[in-house]
Every structure is written in C-alpha cells, then in structure tokens.
Symmetry: D2
Subunit: 382 residues, 4 copies
C-alpha cells in the first residue's frame, strides 16, 4: 500500500479537531503527515508544526505558502492531498485553491457558508479533477454501512419514515463567554455560517439519514430556536421532513439538551422492518422485522455485509469507536486517490456533492424557520 | 377504606381493555365490580356479565337500563361510579347521562369526538357535580409523578424543550382486514373520531407532556400520514409544538414503526438539567444535571417524592408495571369520591377538562395537517 | 371459572408479603379472600382481618382456630386452600396440619428449616392428597417459561453451564437494628433457618436454575460470609455448582451488594446457543445462537411458546411485572385444585418436592461452607 | 515529546495482535515502528516487515539477529524498546535476553508459562534495569482508572466483594480444527501454557480485579472444565476467591459462553457503595451509593479524576474504545522510558511483577482445579 503524504490547513495548538484528523488519517499507517499550515497566525502555525515534528521546509506560515511550496516540488514528492480543518468560513477559499491546482482535498463539514460557494467547489473539483471528500465521519462506522446495505437490499422493505436526532447539551449555558474556543467560533455567524446547531450537527444528521436511506430531502418545515440569551445562532432545531419516495421524517438537532453528549441516532422504518443505530454505542445495530424477535447485529461478525466487514480492524467485542470511523472516511478517500480516480459525484467516501447538499439543507432550514404561517393555534377548552 | 361499587359500560367478551379496567379498579381491593352493561348487543352484554359473575339483577342489557336500574336503588346501594370502556364514539352519550344523573364517571380516552362534545361533558360534570376522571393511565406511573414533581420544584430549572414519542408498529400492515377487533374500530372514523394514531396514542403523548411539564400546547405544526393503503385515518403523526412559557416541542405518534410495541417516552429539557422516562421500563427515571454524572432514580426508594412513594406497592427491584399504573388512576379518582368531592378542573386524577384538552389537540392537529403551505422546498445542488 | 375460597395464615398489619399474596391470588378474579388468621398475636390477627374486610366469623385468632372452624363447615363452604405467609419457622407446623386435613396448601418459601421437616411435608401432602404449591414466584414469569421451553426443546443444544445470581444490597448495613420488620426476622436463625441470604434468596436462584434447565444440583462448593458485624446469618453466598448431565454452574446470592435491588438473573449456556433473563426487566429474554445476531424475545408476542402466551394478560409493550408473575403461580395451583388434582411431585406450579429440594440445598450449602480444605493458597511472586 | 523507536518480535502476516500493538503504540504519534523480527520463520518475518515498510537493514530474520543488530548501533539510534507479541511460549526467552541487554520490554500476557520463569524475568528486568511492561490492556481504559481512584479514595468504603467475569463464546465449537490460527495455538499447552481460558483471559480478569481494588488474591477454589471434546486445555473456569483484607470474590472466565464476544466486566462492592464497569461499553462507569440514585459517570467529563482525564483524547460522547485503551498502556510505559526510569515493581503501567502474579494465579488455579475434595454432595429429597 502506497503511503500518501498529507498536508494540513488548520489544526494547530488548541484546536481539537486537528488532532482527530491526524490520528484518523494515520491510524492504519497509510498516510504520513508531511506538511502543514496549522494556523491563520503564521507564528502559531510554525510553532504548532514544530510541536508535531514537521520538517522546517514544510512547516508553512500560511496555506498559500503551502500551496505554492508544494507545487514547486516534483509530483512524486509533493503532498498527495490537503486536509482542511479550519473553522468553517475558511474552507471555501482553501479548498477551491487546492482543488483547482489538482491537489486532492479532504475538507471538514459543513463544506462552506452558501450553496453558491458549494457549487463553486463542485466546479473546482471537477476542473482540477480531484478526489474531494467531506468528513461526514459518522458515515464511516461499519454498522452504518451495514444499515445502508440492509436498506438498499430491501431487508426492511420500502422505506416509510426516518427519525434522526443529534442531541447535545454542551451549549446549554453560555459557554462561548468562557473563552472555550470551540464554543466561541461555533456561535459566531461570521465563522460558522447561518446555522448554529443546525449547521454544526444538523448537517451530520441530514447526511446520515440520506446516506442510510438513499433518499433526499425534498421539503422542510423547521423550527429553530436560540435558547441562550445573547447567542447569535440557533442552538435548537426541530424539523419535519419530506423525502423522495414519499418518505416522512423528523430531524432533531440540539445543543441545549443537557445530559446528551454526542448522541447522534437514527431510526429507519420500512414496510417490513426497521433499523436503529446510536453513535454512542456504535458497535451494534438493531433490526426489527414484523412479528419477529428483535435482532442485534454486532460489528466484526461474519454475518455482516462485505463493506461492514471491510471497515473494521479488530474482532467482535473489542469495541471500535469514533477514531476508527473517522479513519474509515480517510481510508476510502485515500483508496480513491491511490486508484488514480478524480472528481466523483458519488463515491465510497462523502463527496463534495454530498457536502453541497448539506449546505443547501442548512440554507433552506434557516429560510423555513423564518416563516410563522406554519403554525396552527390551539386555543383553550374553557 | 370504603369499598366502592363500580358499574361498567362496554368491556364484554372479546374486548381487551375492559379486563384491564376491571383488574386495575379492583387491584387494591377498594372497588367491587357490581353492575354492567357490557356490550351494545344486549344478549352479548348479558352473556359477558354472566361470565364475570355479575348478579342477574345488575347484569343489564344496555347502559340506559343500567342507569335507570341503579337510580331506582337507594343511594347507599347503587353504584358509586360508572366506568366507560366502549369504543370512542359511545363515550359522549353515556358519560353525559351518568354525569348529569349525579353518578361519578371514569371514562377511557379520547374523551369524545369533538371539542363541542367535550365542552358538553364539562358542563354535565359541573351540573351533576361529579368526579369525572379520564383514564390517561400513563400519568399513573410513580416515576411519572416523580418527574412532574421534579419539574415543578425547579430541579431542572426552567423548561425549554419537550420531546414526547409514542411509537408503535402493530398497524404497519392492514391488520383491520384480519378481523382483529381493536384494529377494526380504531381505523374507522365513525367509531374512532377524526384522528387515527394521533387520537389513539397521540392524545396520551400530549397529556403526558402537559402533565409532567405543567405547560400547555399553544400552537401546532403537524404532518399526518396514512401509510397503509386504503386505511381511512392517519397511522403516523409528527408534530412541532409551541407550548406556554416559550417551550418548544416535538411529538411523534406512530403505529407503523415496526419493532416498537408500546414505546411511549418523554424527554424534558430545562436550563439546569433534563429528565427521561420510558413506559416500557417504567421503574426508572433518568435525571441529568449539567456537568454531573447521570442519575437513575428507581421506583420504591426513599429518596423519591411523597406522591411517587404513595403510588407504589412493593419494594424497589420488584417491578411494577402497566396494571399498577392504571390502578393508580382509579385509586385517585376513588379517593376523591370517598372524600365527597364533586366536579374539579384539576385534580390528582386526569379530569374531564384534561380530556377535553386532548380532544381539542386532536382536532387542531387534523386541521394543521391539512395545510400544505408550511413546507419549504429544498431543490438540488446540481 | 369457579371462584376458590382462600384462607390465609400470617400477613397481618406491617407484613409486606401478605398483601402481595392477596393481590396475586385475586388478580385474575378467580380467588376470594375468605378467611384468615393473620398474626400469631390473636388481637393483631383480628384487627388485621377487620381492616381487610373479613367476616367476623372467619376472622380467626389463630391458625388452629381457623383449621377447626373451617373443617366444621360443609365441604362446599369451607376454604379451598390455605395460603401460608408467616415467617419461615411457622411454615412447617401449619402446612402439615392443613395438608393432613385435606385442605390444599400454598406456602411461601423456603418451605421449612430442615430437610427432615421437608420430608414430613411431602408425606403430609401425599397423605392428605392435596395440591401443595410453594411460591417460587419468579418461575411464574412468562419469559421464564419461554426459557424453560427453549431449553427443553433443544434450541440452545445440550446445556453446559448455568450462571444464576440473586443480587441485593438492602442488608449492606445493619438494618435489623432499625426495627425494620423484614430485616429483623430474616437475620434471626430461630425464625429464618440456617441460611441467611442463601435461604432467603439463594433458594430462589437454585429453583430458577433447576426450573429452566431441568437439571438438578449434584454437588456444591460454597463460600458463605457474614459481612455485617454481629449478624448471625450469612449475608453473602458464592457457590460453584455441579449439576446433572455434566453441567457446571455458578450461583451468587448476596444482600450486601449495594445498588442491586432485586436483581435475580439467569444465564444458561448450551452447545448451540445461550439464554439470558433478568427479573428487573422481566418482559424480555435474550437468545444468542452461535454465529448469529442476538435475538430479543418479548412477552406477549405470537412467536412465543404456548405456556408463555397463556401466562400473560396484556399486549406486548404494556409491561407486566412482579405481581402478575406471582399471580401466575397461584393460578396454576388453583387450576390444579379446580381440576380435582391432589398430590403431585411435578406440576405446572412449584410443588412441595421442589420446596424440599430447596431446603436440602440450603442445608448442604451451609455444610459445604464450613469446610476450609477447599482453598488453595496462592502465595507471592517476590 | 521524544519519538521512541520500537522493535517488534512476532506479529507478522496472519497475526492479529501484532497490528493491534503497532496501532496502539503509534496512535498518539510518540512511537515509530523501526525494527522487527516478525515471525519465527525468517522468510515470513522478512516478507512481513517488507509489507509494513521496515527498512531492509532493520527487518530481521530472527529476534537474536535483531538483538545483535540493534546493540551494534549507537545508543541514540538503536531501538528504545522491544514489543513481544509472539505466542506465549516464546515470551520468556526473548524478554529475558532483551531485558538483560538493557533494552526496555513491552510484553504481551500471560507473561510466561511458569512462576519460576516469571521470577527469572523479574530478575532480568532488575539486572538490566529496564522498564518492563506487560500489556494488560484493559487497565488502560480511563473509566477503569477512575474506578481504581474511587476505590482508593474510599468512595465506596471498605471493599467487601469483587465479581469479575470474562465471558467469551468463540471457542464453543472446535474452532482449532478449522485452521484458525488464534484458536490453534491458544488451545495447545506447548504454546499457550497450562491454562486455556484461565490463562488467555482469566489472567486479564485477575489483573483487572487486583488493579481496581488494590487487593491481591490469597486463596483460590477453582473449577476448570474442558467442554469441547478433544481439546487439551480448559475452556471454562469458575473460581471462588479470597483476597487480602477479607475480600471475597467470584471470577468467571469462559470461552464457551455463546453470545458473549469479549465481555470482561467487573463489579466491586464496598461498605458504602459499589462500582460496575463493562469492557464492551467502556465509556461509562456505574457508581451506586447506599440509599441514593445510581450514578453513571462518563469518559471525558470534568468531574472525573486526573488520571482518567489524562488517559483520554476526545470529548464526552465521542466514544473511545479498545485501541485507545491499549495505547494508554504503551503511553505509560513510554513515559517511564522517556523519564529515564528503569526497573519498577509498581508503576503507572502493569509491570513484570504484575505479570508474574498472573502466572502464579494460573498455576494455582490449575492446581486447585485438580482437587476433588472441595465438593459437597447434595443427594435427593425422595
């Protein structure tokens, strides 16, 4: 297996998600972290790169320097792909530049701020003919792949309904005033985009539901709320969904639900059965068929589909978790790179088109939430 | 403790819920099943009463005969209350007659078909000055009472959000064609009313959310669907809610979610913590406070509130369940009767006013579901 | 269905288990509580009977009076059976007298203090030719009956191993000094017998394991401990078991395991699969077959065996619990009485022979625990 | 942080555990896999090393060559430590040689075949003054560290009882005949040692119980069984334990419990409360205090002890699992190496002394199991 060279933009000191991306990318020993522009502040960028053992010549002060520097190297020596792990508002410019230059891109989600930008990134990926993956990491879990395969092969019949929830509680108080870096930029529209909870985690929920069911959202009826006083973005989102094929849905994304940590969960109901999966206990998948005992499928077993088996490392009962799922997304994108593939609309990894759909979803949710005419007053019985 | 005499309307041979009501009413030995008009078919009524050991003189062929017959008896000998367990469309007429005659009423839910009828029943109960209880049996669970007390006493701070679900799957196929009696009348608008799933189980969900939070629903945005071809009522309901005090909510009531049996569950989120309860594991209540380990409260323990402790019979770990909760509703209504109380808007048992609110909720949900303008189209990214 | 008349010995004011027996016996309306000698103190006995609405003529001051009084009545009027719910040390004398007099017996467990007494009771039941049931109530759960049927029909292959636990924590402190009545007599050898935890709950565990597997214990290696200073009986018991057919086992019975309430659980392992059941979530049974997803069977479903279906009242998802299981034991014994049966060694209810086996088990456990030669010292590595 | 150079013995093609060790050692980017002698077959060793990208000069044909080759290099260039991941019978010779040569050792468990060998390895580690870690990987879980801290700080009072189980089912059939490599050597006394299940997984259970409670096993009463015909080692082990400080225990280790995958679990009961942890859901720890609601502590939260917080990477709700715990053991050993430490009896990682205790435990269990005089016959009631 060819070792790929990864450059990273963002993810320096104090950034949480940069370390996750590095560990995930390198977990299975197929990627080497080779170059970086790890902060928008050049001094901090270089200090961070030094901490992490980057060679001086590839420890850049800015992403532009990195792009330029790497392009000067011979093809076999330059980075194979860039991983973009900055706050959201930076994604667009960086991803566009690298993609157009023909360097593969792995970008965190949400892809960018507007669907116009998103179309621009699709165009850039097509023009540069690059692999462009968006790290919807939860779709990397093997039991999610199993769920998708079971739906696709008709094991629950025709899909009727989806309930997807992403429950968190960490923003139930005004954490952004404490100086906590993650809370700070995620609640700032300039850096996070038009969506708060709906952007940060609702987009994961949307992608998970679409990924597993193979259905797309056609119409939305949304209620967005900002519970914490003074916060500038929604921290709670509740949606009714209509999806292709007559599928009905409910989507909940909240960051004020105290006691829920990172509780992404999905239920899919079909004419013959149903599936249930929870991210916090990711090694199991519940399958319930009409009139039969519940079945609990577990990661690593021989009865799972090929893709679920291919996306795991260790035997049943030796749990895998978040980092392994994240690594699976990197592995799929890297496999496409190694295979010499370029731009793809649909692939084994979430593509720039999937990312664009997520941006559109956020936009339309915000639009729907502004309409008050959806409500029917109840009144009293007196 | 005075033994009360119960008359029953409905609940004869083949009726499931009649036996539940009889067992619940008599569980703690405070009620004697004394008289009955157990079917709308006089012959079947009498045969059923004979099966159950009713004396011939109080085994009536119709509810009118029972009302007349009991009123002829001296006050101390006549039934203390009537329990109405017929299909929904019969509730109104029977309840009105008994209430106006000054006989206490315990009536199954939903109370009646229209909010106009519901107002009539409130008036009748007021006129007859009777205890009028509606068997929202799930509010009888001790851990539900504990939840209500914890909310009321501020243990989770100000309520922000409610997620209430009533998930069932038994009507995922066209069971009404099989001759199954429950499925038959529940899917018939003439007997069931304007709501299918939303009436049968959605009304329980509405009552549970209101009971625990002390909030009422002010506005609704509803999506009702009939998935099973040819069915005449909704079998799936998804709602966004706005409740008093700025509370947001999601309500799901479905009978096509295969694998869910009788999965009523409630989550309440406040500014300081949250509560979670599930009917299928009713002996525990999860309480999560910000920044602290989850706490699992269990029925029967000394740390529970007085009302939770008063509504249980056996020690912790010896599980109680559905029948005991149902009995608690009867016990509360009977205690009011023994105490000589008459009409009450709010009481320790769910009142006719609570029942009326449920009917209004169903009506407004059906109205909201007819409006298509609530939807925002999403479109594509291409 | 003929209504049977029940007399009760014990179970007066302050007794917990008497009310459980009365509710269980009458739950399905087939038994009437007709006579009682509810305390060893005649005044308290009569006061208790008055509380509970017994007629004066059948509210006796002692069990001897009751036996005499009932025998004077014509056969059709006298009690059909006696329910004995006193502390353990009283069982023997009462049960023997009623059985010999030809009155059916339902007796709480453990049956009596010594295996010699137990043999006496078998002889008495045989002599009087009566139904003699011992209320091993946990074997009344429908999912326990399902488990038994699955083992018997070979669904897990040949049984290899059993792990049965009865975990409680309520005696972790010296509760008997607080005046708590249950703790008081259960820790007193004169009233409780030679076993503490092993007698009170270990005997349930033994019976459950034997009931489900159809195997009997052949040999025991036991460690009994009294953790609470000054207590006179064991409060913690751990055993290795050898059962018929080469089955190995582990049995844990403890009352000092803080946090466990009434946590009786059973695992049975065979050559083809395994079963797991927990009393605190009694409506489900886990079945795991080699190389397949876990299966969760749930009470009330059509796929269960006939006996499991016959021992339930309400639909799936409407949980049943402790009282219903207890009632099932009464119902099975009463069905035998109604059918005119007399003494039986094995029956649909736990018999006096099963009860005798439990007494022998306690005796042998206490004997085994006294032997110190079972231990192999480990030493150090230094 | 200094990057350490790791050499590996064993873990070539087809070996499962070698990849786990490599991923764990390198997970947090502090170790580089530098040299290897990856099989006892020189050709396979070299082919395996080539697969994994080892430089030719450090891709050795045998562990002796590796030891010699590395010692020839200057101190700063040679490997810092050797990781020994061969079948058990090879551990002793290799570990002894490297330790005596002054190269730090990380060795898989069980440490070796006999307690005599184990004493030899302690002597070698002392002589070479090396860090010698044994990969009892389960003690690397942060919630296990939390449990240990809670016991040590008295949060459950004085420890009374431990129940530790390691339930597996993968050897319920004769897998070793299928050519499955893991099953093959684990059931061969020549390679695995005198213990089957008790050695392979019982030793993990012993270490976990000792680690969390701080108690040592003083005496054992063991029942070892070989259920699968023709197998030469035990596949099921059940033990009663007596530990220091009057602690009682039960230890179950089985590989024939169908449906259990890798179900290591621990319960510790004290005078004030109890703890429960399960490896298959490793991110939570249950704490139950007398008379209080259960508490569920979750990985990553601020309320955990310092060591639990230091041994995690990602926020609450983003689950960590097996590989991360394994990495924690490597990290602790590597931290000791970086700090210049040598031989230690007790340390933040499991030491050679802990490993020796495990070998003694296996030896004594086998000895105890041979004694039949521990059993008390039960007989019949007839």
């Amino acid at each position: 297996m060819k070792i790929l060279k990864m450059g990273m933009v963002g993810g320096g000191r104090d950034a949480f998600i940069g370390a996750v991306h590095r560990t995930a990318a390198c977990l299975d020993h197929g990627v080497r972290f080779t170059a970086g522009a790890l902060s928008s502040d050049p001094a901090k960028a270089k200090a961070s790169g030094k901490d992490l053992g980057l060679e001086d010549s590839r420890n850049y002060g800015s992403w532009r320097e990195m792009l330029e520097g790497e392009l000067k190297r011979p093809v076999g020596e330059r980075i194979d792909f860039v991983s973009i792990v900055t706050p959201n508002h930076v994604h667009y410019e960086v991803a566009r530049a690298f993609a157009e230059a023909g360097i593969h891109v792995v970008c965190d989600k949400p892809l960018c701020h507007t669907s116009e930008q998103a179309r621009g990134l699709i165009a850039a990926a097509r023009k540069g003919n690059v692999v462009f993956a968006v790290t919807y990491n939860y779709s990397g879990y093997p039991m999610v792949k199993q769920a998708r395969q079971m739906v696709a092969s008709g094991q629950i019949g025709e899909v009727r309904k989806v309930v997807v929830e992403y429950n968190q509680g960490w923003l139930a108080g005004k954490l952004e005033e404490s100086g906590q870096k993650q809370a700070d930029w995620r609640t700032d529209p300039a850096r996070s985009g038009a969506g708060g909870a709906i952007g940060d985690i609702g987009s994961h929920a949307e992608q998970l539901a679409a990924f597993v069911t193979g259905k797309e959202i056609e119409a939305i009826c949304a209620d967005l709320t900002t519970f914490v006083e003074g916060r500038r973005l929604d921290d709670d989102a509740n949606l009714l969904l209509r999806m292709t094929g007559g599928v009905r849905g409910v989507l909940i994304a909240s960051q004020i639900e105290i006691g829920h940590e990172n509780d992404l969960r999905l239920r899919v109901f079909g004419t013959k059965g149903s599936l249930e999966w929870r991210q916090e206990e990711p090694n199991e998948l519940w399958h319930r068929a009409m009139g039969e005992p519940d079945r609990v499928l577990r990661r690593g077993n021989g009865y799972l589909c090929e893709e679920a088996r291919a996306n795991t490392r260790i035997p049943p009962g030796h749990p895998e978790a978040f980092l392994e799922a994240f690594a699976n997304v990197y592995n799929a994108a890297c496999a496409a790179m190694r295979a010499g593939r370029g731009f793809e609309e649909r692939a084994a990894y979430p593509t720039v088109v999937d990312g664009a759909r997520g941006v559109l979803f956020i936009e339309k949710t915000v639009e729907s939430a502004k309409s008050e005419r959806k409500w029917t007053a109840v009144g009293g019985v007196g």
